[in-house]
Symmetry: C2
Subunit: 385 residues, 2 copies
């Protein structure tokens, strides 16, 4: 494993650092756009570069099913396949197996499931997930975990976290035995991928503690908090993050999976989270929900039909420089494919610029002011809706 | 009307010229991408600029129904609405009224029809079509015509061309009386739009002659040949174009509506056509049919699943510089919206580069060599399919 994590500045609990990965450096705290099927839906790669996307997330479950990890391996790995020469992280497939597939059967060995695409039968074990992720060749890969559902009883959360820990160990052992098989091993001078662990434990702070403490024993280069954003109230998400972060090594990247709204990602970064990902900016964009420096905007609303302003006058993105709300509303109403392209670019640009502000604020020691503004906006948005 | 058409070079029947329009100059012969609903489907405007799109076509029927021409007028006209500061041409709505709408009733006065969107009842007359087109404010507008269906009896074609001629005269009279109402009249120093006439006459060369001769009496700044690409064999299209072109003024732009395949547009440009438009490059792209310097390619084909070549090694477009056939095939198979974006950019780039080659060849006196190569490719493609 070949990650370095260099801290530049801390501000209370928040931290600003550089994570050096085989395919480049990532400035943290960072938000990672989700490129499920080797594409961030509707956005060309050069536009992702233009808005300064540093690292993408790919979904192992989807890529395994289509076009298949062996095909991607033969084509040189995911970076080459999708022409994204910058860092990538893949999840383990666990979350999608539990959320998308049908007829799942979980055993100690792994999960048998049916594809959501064609109903075909598949089996994922920790070893198989790692094999698939090595074939894909992302810079960061994840242990195969069971994402505990919400709500879950204490007993269920404990059983699940125990299984996840046994699977984490198997994931690590298999990874260490096979890490040199990554498609770019020789080309990158013997560098390898980086395996992150995942804390589970449901909404039980003591189980989270146990999960974190036992996981840290595996001495991995980074740790994620999983099993959040699964339907629980936002206050619970915050509490679990707050309770878990101090238990993870301060000198390694800490990643909260599957969050969140703009105000959430600022909040969590302030709490000390280094990495986050979420489909929200792109999925919301495709449904006409846009994020701005003044709150959320539903572009479908008739009030925008003749509004000649950009989505967000403070946004520097290409979409806000060129197009009006009136035009975007028309594209959305007419179900034109360009709506998804432009609105996804804006929402992602807004998320990435938000994290840039967070990093700048940490370096300048002004994070509490930024946090205050973001909370103010959240209150205003809540009042409006 | 404020168009100038400056001839640079002729080569046998082909001509290379500059058409100066209120929103810029257009080098002819030119292919015009179709932006039906104020968007070339799936392609952001800056990518249209990048591939050197000179002029777009907008569909009056669609824009009248949604978002409405009065709304577009209030927003400053189509150029401002869609943020396309370069030339635009709008059709008259006639073709779509006849091909898309329901329950049409044609009278001397005009056409009553039901919207394909919501079944609402509407009426288009020559005067109304012109009013709508003035509100949209394209650089070139078209007379309201009846697009004669195929096949049509001689009697039917004659009745239809007579009606089209009466409508052309009404279109012109109404245009002349209202041309100063275009949204950018003051801003562009009193320039106005340019109204083109449309030759009809079905597949009858003598009726086409009569239509052309009577239309030319209106002394319009440009003329189109309509009623082609409506299902007739390609040889008929060619014959009608060949028979009609010499009857149109040599010093004015000549536009063939709704064509065609890459080899057709080269052929017609060589015959002396200055302007063409077609949904083919974008529609085909969305269905996985790609045009290349070696013929057509159906990206769905399994043979491309691990093909690391670009769509067309000779193409300079951004898509061919970055992505492999294998990746595009995956996007298409996974129904990813990025497939339409990238494939539309390539197909349009290929069409526009093809017309650039035609212009270069006319200037260099080497058009016959280019024509030979294109015909050769067509023969090879026909043998392959």
């Amino acid at each position: 494993m070949s990650l370095t994590f260099t801290m530049h500045q801390t501000s209370d609990t928040a931290r600003c650092a550089t994570m050096q990965l085989p395919h480049g450096a990532v400035q943290t705290p960072i938000f990672m756009p989700v490129g499920t099927a080797a594409t961030v839906k509707a956005v060309p790669q050069h536009l992702l570069e233009e808005i300064e996307t540093q690292i993408l997330l790919g979904n192992t479950y989807h890529l395994y099913l289509r076009p298949g990890h062996e095909r991607i391996r033969r084509l040189g790995g995911l970076h080459k396949f999708m022409s994204w020469p910058h860092p990538i992280l893949t999840d383990s497939g666990g979350f999608q197996v539990f959320s998308l597939s049908k007829l799942r059967k979980v055993t100690e060995d792994g999960v048998r499931f049916r594809s959501h695409l064609d109903g075909s039968s598949h089996f994922f074990s920790p070893e198989h997930s790692i094999d698939v992720q090595i074939a894909l060749g992302a810079d960061i890969v994840m242990v195969f975990d069971e994402c505990t559902e919400y709500p879950a009883t204490r007993e269920r959360a404990r059983t699940s976290l125990d299984l996840t820990l046994r699977w984490a160990r198997r994931s690590r052992d298999h990874f260490l035995a096979h890490q040199h098989e990554v498609p770019w091993f020789d080309e990158r001078g013997g560098q390898t991928q980086n395996l992150f662990g995942i804390v589970q434990g449901g909404m039980y702070a003591d189980l989270r503690r146990e999960s974190a403490e036992r996981l840290v024993e595996l001495d991995l280069p980074g740790y994620a908090i999983g099993g959040l954003s699964v339907g629980e109230p936002r206050e619970s998400t915050r509490e679990i993050i707050a309770a878990t972060l101090p238990l993870l090594p301060a000198d390694k990247p800490r990643y909260v999976m599957g969050v969140g709204y703009p105000e959430e990602i600022v909040e969590y970064a302030a709490m000390g989270v280094d990495m986050m990902d979420c489909v929200l900016p792109t999925r919301a964009a495709r449904h006409g929900l846009l994020f701005t420096s003044e709150g959320r905007m539903n572009i479908k609303n008739l009030r925008y039909a003749e509004d000649q302003q950009p989505i967000d006058a403070k946004c520097k993105c290409r979409v806000c420089q060129r197009y009006t709300r009136a035009y975007l509303r028309h594209l959305f109403a007419a179900k034109e494919p360009l709506a998804a392209v432009l609105q996804s670019v804006h929402n992602l640009a807004f998320y990435l610029a938000t994290m840039q502000s967070v990093r700048d604020s940490i370096l300048l020691g002004s994070l509490s002011e930024l946090l205050g503004r973001v909370r103010q906006r959240e209150i205003a948005a809540a009042q409006e809706s």
